[in-house]
């Protein structure tokens, strides 16, 4: 049987998942060696979610995340060394070492950041989708958040608006079953997060987040739905983190057996087995070669970070207020000296023609009338 997926796609997904895994393993190691400090939330186990999603959307679609945010930009194609440097607190990091592990931003690759307040990025994503709709772009926004964020007010307030205004945004709840050390069922009246979409008449669905191909299919479909102007989607990706909440978490709240069981469900070998079964002429050697390459990439990233200087103290006084005429910083241009060509560009206030009628008058009047109100 011919494969439903191209060899190229399968290998790209494998490469990216392996890169994410290896990057996080090394990040964990560097944390234990004191090179990385503060909070450091690893993505190990959840790779299929970011990678499956990224391959299903366009490079110019917006993406943003919570503070477990190393995986998504890597999947988008950000420079591994500059992310590692950010984790190390070095001047060559994406945010010059000002943000650290929780705040990776790579605007060139349309990754709009990692946010440290639980659920704080959820309304932001709606706003980015709003902007796309306002400008008549067919761009979607993908917003990742953890299961525990679903209990924040921001989640509910935003879903109400997103659905009411049919904003093109895909909310991917990465349900790894624990909000830090608390099992989601312990604090949630409805622990199946995707069901909450129904309260807003919004499309909601659960996906196996340990299967990159299922993630890919689900997000592809959701993106088409959004681009067609049908409104937002809430997707619950059931996944599992093999590591604690952060590096300082021994994860004593869950059994070893549980972790062992989940590890057997590792999305990376799963994809490899799948690909080998397809008639694509792939062998173990192909995957091992990829692994070796990505290991080298990550080793080089660590070396780059380690050899990079700390930010200049002058940086303290930059990036708080935008001074008149000040340009935005393009990290790869600043650090690597490469010419960044596809930086977001927005139409000027004179070029832009807003044609969207967010609430047609007839609709509003009908609602008023129904409520017994006449103006």
């Amino acid at each position: 049987m011919a494969s439903a997926y191209s060899k190229d796609l399968l290998l790209t997904m494998y490469r990216k998942m392996y890169l994410l895994r290896r990057f996080e393993e090394r990040a964990g190691q560097q944390y234990t060696l004191g090179k990385i400090a503060g909070f450091c939330h690893l993505y190990i186990g959840q790779e299929a979610v970011a990678v499956g999603c990224n391959e299903a959307i366009r490079p110019d679609d917006y993406m943003l995340s919570a503070y477990r945010d190393h995986g998504q930009p890597l999947a988008r194609g950000s420079d591994a060394g500059m992310i590692m440097a950010e984790l190390f607190g070095r001047g060559t990091g994406y945010s010059k070492g000002k943000g650290g592990s929780m705040h990776i931003f790579d605007i060139e690759h349309h990754f709009y950041g990692g946010y440290g307040i639980v659920g704080g990025q959820i309304p932001l994503a709606a706003g980015m989708a709003f902007a796309a709709r306002y400008r008549n772009e067919d761009r979607v926004t993908v917003c990742f958040f953890g299961d525990a964020a679903a209990n924040q007010g921001a989640f509910h307030e935003t879903f109400n608006m997103a659905q009411k205004w049919k904003l093109p945004v895909i909310y991917i709840c990465e349900n790894n079953r624990y909000g830090m050390g608390t099992a989601i069922a312990r604090t949630s009246a409805v622990p199946e997060i995707h069901k909450r979409a129904s309260a807003y008449g919004m499309r909601g669905e659960a996906v196996d987040g340990m299967d990159v191909l299922k993630m890919y299919e689900a997000v592809k479909d959701a993106a088409e739905y959004c681009r067609a102007g049908k409104g937002p989607v809430l997707m619950e990706a059931n996944t599992y983190r093999f590591r604690g909440h952060s590096m300082a978490d021994p994860a004593t709240y869950r059994s070893k057996q549980e972790v062992e069981d989940e590890r057997r469900n590792d999305p990376i070998p799963k994809l490899r087995e799948y690909a080998l079964k397809q008639k694509l002429g792939l062998s173990d050697a192909d995957f091992e070669a990829i692994e070796e390459e990505e290991k080298r990439t990550v080793d080089a990233a660590v070396k780059f970070a380690d050899e990079s200087p700390e930010p200049s103290v002058d940086e303290l006084w930059r990036d708080t207020i935008v001074e008149p005429g000040e340009e935005d910083v393009r990290p790869r241009e600043r650090v690597l000296g490469v010419k960044v060509t596809h930086w977001p560009k927005y139409p000027s206030g004179q070029e832009l023609k807003v044609t969207w009628d967010l609430e047609p008058r007839a609709e509003a009047e009908a609602a008023d009338k129904k409520a017994g109100l006449s103006r």
């Binding site: 010059k96 709009y112 709606a126 706003g127 709003f130 307030e157 910083v329 832009l352 009628d357």
Partner: protein, 328 residues
């Protein structure tokens, strides 16, 4: 020059800026079909349509965060807070996202957005609806905070705020909206960060902003009859402070009184006093005195409410105190 109400001046600024720049939109509770809880957005829905004048659900955190996200990708939102008391619900989005996007992204993102609405006591509304919260926001790097007192400044500063590349917090006043003043037509821009000597004087500098400005002018006029010359300095922008203007005036008069509607502890006036004592100690002929709201929650009863707030007699007493003319 035409005389306009404060709310009309704001309306004019909004209309002009939205005309000039299609990236500007207004979002808030009751801003559209209702024409604004305080009629600031009167007529704008008809003019600009429902995508640019947006009636938001009562979700302060939600629509504030949505607007911050829109600003991060190039739009220029104006977020109307029905009052700043309600915006406390949105503070996370303002403080943790709007004020920090530039920083967290290492200069990749900017957040050109205006949050505006009335602050201060509205009149017989009790404690939850009668707070002057500007000091809270002035505390945060990454924000600009403005509080114009006159219709002309309201127009000129809102236009500047919309054109600014940073998040700007604008405190209007429930009791200011109906006040009238001369407002220049068309392109009238008042730069942010610049204080204004609204009345020149030689004996004492009276520093204030927003609604208290009117009590200060009243006090200054009354004192002029007693031969006391009061210089009234309207700060207009609370972050960044116009330190130069404050020091210039204090160096001239050698005495200062600061009047603010909010509470004394950790108030803006405290920072102004700090500036004066550290930079102009040798120019002082008397300790600086503050007139502030009393350190209590606002009551509903009229007499209690009046007693809680600064007014002209309290300001006059403070000025006499720094001039050592008590009982004079």
């Amino acid at each position: 020059m035409p005389e306009l109400m404060y709310r009309e001046a704001l309306n004019q600024a909004l209309a002009e800026e939205m005309e000039r720049d299609a990236n500007v939109f207004l979002i808030g509770e009751e801003v559209g079909r209702y024409n604004g809880a305080f009629k600031v957005s009167q007529g704008l829905l008809d003019k600009f349509g429902s995508a640019r004048i947006i009636d938001a659900p009562i979700s302060e955190l939600g629509f504030t965060g949505l607007s911050v996200g829109a600003a991060a990708v190039g739009l220029r939102p104006v977020v109307e807070m029905m009052t700043w008391n309600f915006a406390i619900l949105a503070m996370d989005q303002i403080v943790n996202n709007a004020a920090k996007l530039r920083h967290m992204s290492g200069g990749q993102l900017r957040c050109p957005i205006v949050f505006r609405g009335p602050g201060g006591a509205g009149g017989r509304l009790s404690s939850q609806h009668s707070q002057s919260l500007e000091a809270n926001y002035a505390h945060f790097p990454g924000l600009k905070v403005i509080a114009p007192a006159t219709p002309a400044d309201a127009k000129g500063m809102l236009k500047s705020a919309i054109r600014d590349e940073n998040p700007v917090i604008m405190f209007e006043g429930e009791r200011l909206y109906a006040l009238k003043g001369e407002v220049p037509e068309g392109e009238h821009i008042v730069p942010l960060g610049v204080a204004d000597v609204k009345r020149e004087g030689t004996d004492v500098t009276l520093i204030t902003w927003s609604r208290m400005y009117y009590f200060c002018m009243e006090a200054a006029e009354a004192l002029a009859k007693e031969g006391i010359s009061v210089e009234v300095l309207d700060l207009r922008t609370l972050r960044p402070l116009d330190e130069e203007a404050i020091l210039k005036s204090v160096r001239k008069t050698n005495r200062a009184v600061i009047c603010e509607e909010g509470w004394a502890l950790a108030g803006i006036g405290a920072s102004v006093v700090d500036l004066i004592q550290s930079q102009a100690f040798d120019e002082l002929d008397a300790p600086v005195v503050r007139v502030t709201g009393l350190d209590v929650n606002m009551s509903y009863a009229a007499n209690l409410e009046n007693a809680t707030q600064p007014d002209a007699p309290k300001i006059i007493a403070a000025i006499k105190k720094v001039l050592y003319r008590e009982g004079a």
